[in-house]
């Protein structure tokens, strides 16, 4: 009893100390340049959020004793909880701020990340791939590789994924600290340590169950804290049509309000992108890699209580994902119509803002917040941002703990320990993973563009992983050796392409692009970083698939008996009882696909 009272008291004292320090930061630091000033009401809202998040972690600890409970949340999530968590883990503030900035800079092209860059892949995960993940009862995507290809492939995936998750987690921490410094004047070290220790505590206590609970809560906060901006913005702009007319009138000869009309030639859009890069690079390689094989995402729906819940949860995630442009793309467009036209504020690239002291593209969302959100609402908006960053961090930490424990520690370091030992390792690896991520957060300060850095990481590890997983699921001839060599070749080719495009006549430069090399890879020297990454991802996927098929033809496949429940044609779906049409994931997937097509046609 004494212990149960002590833990919440510890949380309260932690929050109290943190809030006092946060409140004192604006006064103590050099804060003359920060965008927003909070009132005491806003601070109360933020402190309440931290209290509830930690409270959930302490409350759920008693429900996570076994490995299945800690790492897979007991596999008892409903479709709605799985779907909300699936999307919330992806909806980090790095993404909302980054894509709002992208919309201000490039217009509606930024919305592709939520349409063709996500929805087809999520639907394929729901209808095609989820049965294999779910029926084989693996704990992770590397765990599927172990069953399908063997230990070597699993180890390669486990180690590379562990490295990637702590790097991405660190980047999230750094981004949050940077944003809080920019908009509130908070000390950067304060933000990193408070957010990371809070995430470490609640994930270490409640594992995936705690992460999922908090992600669902964070989903509500992100939407309620941000949705008011597009609503008030559109009213102020005079309605949707007036907003579009204002943008077009202010930018003659440029097309900010089309999804596809300006992708006919790289010269027609500021990204330097041809539609082939959008479709095959983003829509196929990056999107399918991220949504179908990144364990951070897949883990959420694998924890559902039944295969049908897992599939429906994934489809729900697709619907929610398609709605995100409302709170991301629209504020970016409103920045063009309202900020620039009514307030005379023109946003500029980051390097220009640093030299001139103006506002950068990245500040469009905080600027819109400062325009519309008064005391109380501002606290909710800031809480939404913090929640967004923390859900991204927690997603990475919980996925890291699972993959490290089950796919690295258990097979390579300590094979025959008790379930309790592995749960303990999961708790400790959550904490240690966060501390390693803190180190990478400080390392991330060395990089100038962290969004590009994240996309490069996905290209290095996740795109090749998708190639071997999808071939393994759909073609029983794919051999264990092919899985390993295809995956390894994909990683090596991705890294090689990245070095190649940054190799200048005077030597390697991780910031500059070599136009000659870019032209060979992306067919045009006009392609910018993001466009080049799309083509690199596509080539990496092609190389992975070609090598995997070639090695499969030359080596011995596994016998059918060992591929049961792992490969198309050898997997029998479980009988989950009668399924009325309104619970059929395939029907809903078709409805969502029709919605996706309609949105693309409307905003062509």
């Amino acid at each position: 009893m004494k212990k149960r009272i002590g833990l919440p008291a510890l949380a309260l004292s932690w929050i109290f100390a943190a809030s006092c320090l946060a409140a004192s930061e604006p006064a103590a630091g050099k804060t003359s340049s920060h965008l927003l000033t909070m009132s005491p009401v806003d601070l109360v809202i933020i402190v309440l959020y931290f209290l509830v998040v930690l409270g959930i972690g302490f409350y759920l600890k008693k429900y996570t004793h076994t490995g299945e409970e800690f790492f897979m949340a007991g596999r008892k999530m409903t479709a709605w909880i799985a779907g909300l968590s699936f999307i919330s883990a992806n909806l980090s503030s790095l993404e909302t701020m980054g894509w709002s900035a992208m919309s201000y800079q490039y217009g509606m092209l930024g919305a592709h990340a939520y349409l063709i860059g996500a929805i087809p892949a999520i639907l394929v995960l729901a209808v095609v791939m989820m049965p294999f993940y779910y029926i084989c009862k693996t704990h992770s995507v590397p765990g599927y590789l172990k069953l399908r290809y063997g230990e070597a492939s699993r180890s390669l995936a486990g180690i590379s994924f562990s490295i990637m998750t702590v790097l991405v987690c660190g980047v999230n921490m750094f981004a949050m600290a940077k944003v809080m410094q920019l908009i509130l004047g908070w000390n950067i070290h304060f933000s990193i340590w408070v957010s990371s220790i809070t995430v470490a505590v609640y994930v270490a206590l409640g594992g995936l169950l705690s992460a999922v609970f908090n992600e669902v809560l964070q989903f509500f906060l992100i939407w309620l804290g941000t949705l008011l901006i597009p609503i008030l913005g559109i009213i102020e702009a005079g309605g949707w049509n007036q907003m579009i007319a204002t943008i077009n009138a202010a930018h003659p000869g440029q097309n900010f309000t089309s999804l596809w009309a300006n992708l006919g030639s790289p010269a027609d859009n500021p990204m330097g992108l041809h539609w082939t890069g959008q479709v095959f690079g983003l829509g196929l390689a990056i999107s399918f890699g991220y949504w179908c094989t990144d364990f951070l995402q897949v883990q959420r729906v694998m924890a559902a209580k039944s295969l049908r819940s897992a599939q429906n949860g994934t489809v729900i995630g697709a619907v929610l994902k398609m709605m995100v442009p409302l709170i991301v793309t629209v504020p970016g467009l409103l920045g063009l119509a309202v900020l620039t036209q009514k307030s005379g504020i023109t946003l500029v690239p980051e390097h220009v803002a640093q030299t001139t002291g103006g506002h950068s593209y990245n500040e469009v969302l905080p600027l819109m917040m400062s325009r519309y959100l008064g005391p109380g609402l501002l606290g909710l908006g800031i809480t939404a941002m913090i929640a967004g960053f923390m859900s991204g961090m927690a997603g990475n930490v919980s996925a890291f703990a699972t993959v490290w424990t089950y796919d690295v520690y258990r097979p390579l370091i300590h094979k025959r320990a008790s379930d309790a030992h592995y749960v303990s390792m999961g708790r400790w690896s959550s904490i240690i993973g966060v501390f390693i991520a803190i180190g990478t957060a400080y390392a991330a300060m060395l990089f100038s563009n962290i969004l590009i850095y994240l996309q490069v990481l996905v290209g290095f590890f996740i795109v090749p992983l998708f190639g071997v997983v999808i071939l393994g699921m759909l073609w029983k001839r794919t051999s264990p050796a092919a899985g390993f060599w295809g995956f390894l070749t994909g990683i090596v080719s991705s890294v090689s392409m990245w070095i190649y495009i940054h190799f200048m006549p005077h030597g390697f430069d991780p910031v500059q692009l070599n136009p000659d090399h870019v032209k060979r890879l992306a067919f045009t020297p006009l392609a910018k970083d993001m466009a080049v990454n799309m083509y690199s991802a596509f080539w990496s996927l092609m190389i992975t698939c070609i090598v995997t098929v070639a090695v499969s033809v030359l080596t011995r496949p596994k016998p059918d008996a060992e591929l049961k429940d792992l490969v198309f044609g050898l997997t029998r779906l479980p009988d989950e009882g009668p399924c009325p049409w309104y619970r059929n994931p395939s029907i809903w997937a078709l409805v969502v696909l029709a919605g996706l097509i309609a949105v693309n046609v409307i905003f062509w």
Partner: protein, 75 residues
């Protein structure tokens, strides 16, 4: 080991939203009665009052629907 009944996530969400809603609603009413010297854009619509009210209602609906002590709920 026998475990106690786990509270649903929706109850946590409802409780937090209800508290947030009341805080924002009260702040909005205060600002309506005593308008600040430098009002926000579109403050004439009193978004804090309406948004606070909406969040309060959403929070209360979740609290009532998932209140654990009103009846025993099947697992």
């Amino acid at each position: 080991m026998e475990k106690s009944h786990q509270l649903p996530i929706w109850l946590f969400i409802g409780a937090l939203l209800a508290v947030y809603g009341v805080i924002i609603l009260v702040t909005g009413i205060v600002n309506w009665v005593n308008p600040p010297a430098n009002p926000m854009a579109m403050s004439q619509l009193h978004p804090d009052v309406w948004w606070g009210l909406l969040i309060t209602v959403i929070g209360l609906i979740y609290c009532v629907k998932y209140w654990p002590w009103k009846k025993s709920r099947p697992e």
